[in-house]
C-alpha cells in the first residue's frame, strides 16, 4: 500500500502556504501558530480529537472562517479581507462537508451546473455536459433529474463531490465526508475520493478513516488543542508515532 501512494506524483510547485496563522473565536484561541505548506498533488489527511480545530483549519483555507493573524496563500493568491481575492480562491478550491449541504430545491443536475453557470459564466449546455461527465465519474448519472432528498446519504455525498469538481478546482477540501454515513456507504464515497487522488488532485482531508489515510495519503497531520502536534508519512505515523498525545489518540481509535 505504501508503494501505491508513492505512484502518485507530488510536484515541487506549492499549492498552499500557511504561516504563523492564529485564529480566535471571541477570546477562545482555536488555532495556534499553524505552519503548513502543501505542494501540488499532495494528499494530506488531518486527524485529531474532537474540538482540536481540524474543521476550523480547513475552513480557514477557503475563508469560510477568517483568521486574525498570520497569512494563508492559496495558488499564489493571498487571502485577505478583499472580497475579490476570496471569491477567486473559493472558485479554485472545492469543499465537501460532513452533511453534504446539497441544495434541496434544485435537481442533482442543477446543483452541479449552478456554480459553473453563475460564477464561471459557462454556457448552460456546456455546464450540463460537464456535470454529466462528473456525475458519471461518481457513478450516478441516472439520478441527474432527481432531487437530493430522494438520494441515499452516500449518493448525496458523491453528488457533492461532483458538484465541487464541476468548478474544476485545483484543490479539494474534505471535512469528515464519511462520518455521517452508514458503513456500507462509506466505501463508495472513499472509492470516489481514491480515484480523485489517483488523478493527482491536491487534497486536504479531515477524516478518521485510517485505512484511507494509509492507502492514499502521502502525509498525515495530527492536531490537538489547535496546534499541529505531529506530521509524517502514513507508515511512519501509524507504526512509529513520536508524541505521547499521538500515541494515545492512535491507541484509542485503532484500539477497538
Amino acid at each position: 500500500m505504501a508503494e501505491h501512494a508513492t505512484q502518485m506524483q507530488v510536484s515541487d510547485e506549492i499549492a498552499i502556504t500557511i504561516s504563523k496563522m492564529n485564529k480566535w473565536y471571541g477570546t477562545f484561541h482555536v488555532l495556534r501558530d499553524i505552519d503548513l505548506t502543501v505542494n501540488r498533488g499532495e494528499r494530506i489527511v488531518i486527524c485529531g480529537p474532537s474540538g482540536s480545530g481540524k474543521s476550523t483549519l480547513i475552513r480557514c483555507i477557503n475563508a469560510l472562517e477568517e483568521h486574525q493573524q498570520g497569512s494563508i496563500e492559496v495558488d499564489g493568491t493571498l487571502l485577505s479581507s478583499d472580497l475579490k481575492n476570496i471569491d477567486k480562491i473559493r472558485s479554485e478550491v472545492g469543499m465537501c462537508f460532513q452533511h453534504f449541504n446539497l441544495f434541496p430545491h434544485l435537481t442533482i443536475l442543477e446543483n452541479c451546473t449552478l456554480a459553473p453557470i453563475w460564477v464561471r459564466k459557462t454556457p448552460k449546455k456546456e455546464a450540463e455536459e460537464t456535470a454529466m461527465h462528473f456525475l458519471e465519474k461518481v457513478k450516478i448519472p441516472d439520478q441527474a433529474m432527481k432531487y437530493p432528498g430522494q438520494l441515499s446519504g452516500g449518493q448525496q455525498q458523491r453528488v457533492a463531490i461532483a458538484r465541487s469538481l464541476c468548478m474544476r478546482p485545483r484543490i479539494m477540501l474534505f471535512d469528515e465526508p464519511t462520518s455521517a454515513l452508514d458503513p456500507e456507504m462509506i466505501k463508495e464515497v472513499l472509492d470516489t475520493m481514491i480515484e480523485l487522488a489517483e488523478e493527482g488532485m491536491t487534497m486536504l482531508c479531515v477524516t478518521h478513516e485510517m485505512g484511507f489515510a494509509r492507502q492514499v495519503a502521502n502525509r498525515v497531520i495530527f492536531m490537538d488543542a489547535g496546534q499541529i502536534v505531529e506530521q509524517n508519512e502514513p507508515e511512519a505515523f501509524f507504526n512509529n508515532p513520536q508524541s505521547p498525545r499521538t500515541q494515545l489518540f492512535l491507541s484509542q481509535i485503532l484500539g477497538h
Binding site: N62, L83, H105
Partner: protein, 432 residues
C-alpha cells in the same frame, strides 16, 4: 383443490382466491355515515347537535335569501313587494351595482377602462403565479402597471411612458454598474431614473392632459371595490420585495443598514395602521415640497406598503433563520457572491418556508384596505356606509350590503389561500 400442500412445509399458492364484493355495510354512504357521523355514542350525539345548529341557522336565513327581491327602487318598494313576508332586499345591489364597484364619482361612460384593467390584471399576474407559463409573458407583467395607470387615471399618455422610460433607464444604469459594486448600481439606477423623470416632467406640455385621448380622472373620484382591489394589488406587490430587502438588511453585517432596518421594522410594527392612515391623510403632505400635490391615493399606498412590508420582513426573517447554516457555506464555498447566493440558494428556500406567513399578511392587508373608509375615501365599505346607507331610498338595508361586501372579500381571500396551498404542494421538492 386445496390451497396449500398439506404435506410440505413451504407454502406455495396454486389457486387465486377470487375477488369478492365487500359486504354492503362496508361500502357506500352507509359505511361513510357509520364511520364518520355515528362511530361512537358521543360522536352520534355531536352529529345530532350539529345538525340542529345548522337547522337553526338556515331556518330563518334560507327563506330570507330565496325570497329576496332583486328589482326595486327603494327599501319602501321592497317592503311593498314583500308584503310583510321575510325576504331580503337585494335590489339595492342591482340598483347601486356600479357605485359598489367603481364609487359614485367615476364617470359611468368610462367604466370600461377599469374593467379592462381588471381583466388585464389576470393576464399580468398569471406568469408570476404560475411559473410553468412561458417566461416571455413577464414582459407584459412589467408593462402592466403603466397600462393600468393609463387606463384608470387617463390623462396624457406621456406620464406612463415617461415613468416607464425612467424605470428602464434606471435599470440600464443599474445593470451597467452593478458588476462593480451593488451600491453603485443601486444608487446610480435610482439617480438615473429620478433625473429622467425630472427632465421629462419639464418637457411634458402643460395642457397635455386636457385634450388627451383618455379623459383624465382624478384620484379622489376613485371608489368602490375597485379602490380596494387597486390598493390591495399595488400594496401586496410592492411590499413583498420591500419586505425581502428589509429582512436581508436586518441580517446584514453592515451595522448602519442593520440599524436602519431594525428601527424601521420595529417602529412600523408598533404603530396601528389606522394611525398611519391618518398621518397619510393629514400630515404626510408636510413632508413633500409645499407646491407638490402628492395625491391621497399615493400617500395611502405608501403607508399600507410600509406597514405590511414590516410584517412580511419578519415572516421572511423566520424563513431565513430556518435554513441550515450549511446552505450559506455551500453557496460560499462554490464561489457564489452575496447577491447570487441570496437569489439562487437562500431566498428560494426561505421564501418557500415563508409562504403561509406571507399569504397571511397579504390576506390581512387586503382586508385592511377597507380602513381607508375611515379617512373618508369611498372604497366598498365607504360607499356602503356613506352614500348608499345615507340615501333616503336605501336607509336601513345593512344585512344585504354588508353581506355582499363580506362575500366579495371572502371570495378573493379564499382564492389567495387556495393558491398558496397549491403553490406549497407544487414547490415541495425536499421529499423529507
Amino acid at each position: 383443490m386445496s390451497d396449500t400442500h398439506a404435506q410440505t412445509v413451504a407454502f406455495v399458492r396454486e389457486t387465486e382466491i377470487p375477488e369478492a364484493a365487500p359486504p354492503y355495510a362496508a361500502t357506500g354512504p352507509v359505511k361513510w355515515m357509520r364511520e364518520n357521523l355515528f362511530a361512537t355514542p358521543a360522536n352520534a350525539l355531536l352529529t345530532v347537535v350539529a345538525a340542529y345548529a345548522i337547522y337553526l341557522i338556515l331556518a330563518p336565513t334560507l327563506p330570507w335569501i330565496l325570497n329576496g327581491v332583486w328589482t326595486a327602487n327603494s327599501l319602501a318598494e321592497c317592503r311593498e313587494i314583500l308584503q310583510g313576508a321575510t325576504g331580503a332586499c337585494f335590489a339595492v345591489l342591482t340598483e347601486r351595482w356600479p357605485q359598489l364597484l367603481f364609487g359614485f364619482k367615476y364617470p359611468s361612460e368610462l367604466y370600461w377602462r377599469p374593467s379592462l384593467a381588471f381583466v388585464l390584471l389576470f393576464v399580468a399576474v398569471a406568469p408570476v403565479l404560475f411559473f410553468d407559463l412561458p417566461r416571455k409573458l413577464l414582459i407584459f407583467t412589467g408593462l402592466f402597471p403603466f397600462i393600468a395607470y393609463y387606463l384608470i387615471w387617463g390623462g396624457t399618455i406621456f406620464v406612463p411612458i415617461l415613468a416607464l422610460v425612467g424605470c428602464l433607464g434606471g435599470y440600464a444604469v443599474y445593470q451597467r454598474f452593478v458588476t462593480g459594486s451593488f451600491a453603485a448600481g443601486f444608487f446610480g439606477g435610482i439617480a438615473a431614473a429620478l433625473l429622467i423623470w425630472y427632465i421629462g416632467g419639464l418637457l411634458i406640455p402643460d395642457g397635455a392632459s386636457e385634450n388627451a385621448m383618455l379623459t383624465p380622472v382624478p384620484s379622489r373620484d376613485l371608489g368602490g371595490f375597485m379602490l380596494n382591489m387597486m390598493l390591495g394589488v399595488t400594496c401586496v406587490s410592492l411590499s413583498i420585495p420591500i419586505g425581502i430587502a428589509l429582512a436581508l438588511g436586518r441580517q446584514s453585517s453592515m451595522p448602519l443598514i442593520k440599524v436602519v432596518c431594525v428601527v424601521f421594522i420595529e417602529f412600523i410594527r408598533g404603530v396601528p395602521l389606522i394611525t398611519l392612515l391618518f398621518v397619510a391623510s393629514v400630515m404626510l403632505a408636510y413632508f413633500f415640497p409645499p407646491d407638490s400635490t402628492v395625491d391621497l391615493f399615493l400617500r395611502v399606498v405608501i403607508m399600507i406598503t410600509m406597514f405590511s412590508a414590516a410584517y412580511i420582513a419578519e415572516v421572511i426573517r423566520g424563513g431565513l433563520a430556518a435554513l441550515p447554516k450549511g446552505q450559506y457555506e455551500a453557496a460560499d464555498s462554490l464561489g457564489l457572491d452575496y447577491p447570487q447566493a441570496m437569489r439562487l440558494i437562500i431566498l428560494p428556500q426561505a421564501l418557500k418556508i415563508s409562504i403561509p406567513g406571507i399569504v397571511n399578511v397579504a390576506v390581512g392587508l387586503f382586508k385592511d384596505t377597507v380602513l381607508v373608509s375611515v379617512i373618508s375615501m369611498f372604497d366598498l365599505l365607504g360607499m356602503i356606509r356613506g352614500p348608499i346607507l345615507a340615501s333616503t331610498e336605501w336607509n336601513g338595508v345593512y344585512w344585504e350590503l354588508l353581506g355582499f361586501a363580506s362575500l366579495l372579500f371572502f371570495v378573493v381571500c379564499y382564492g389567495i389561500s387556495q393558491y398558496s396551498q397549491w403553490l406549497e404542494r407544487r414547490l415541495a421538492t425536499d421529499h423529507r
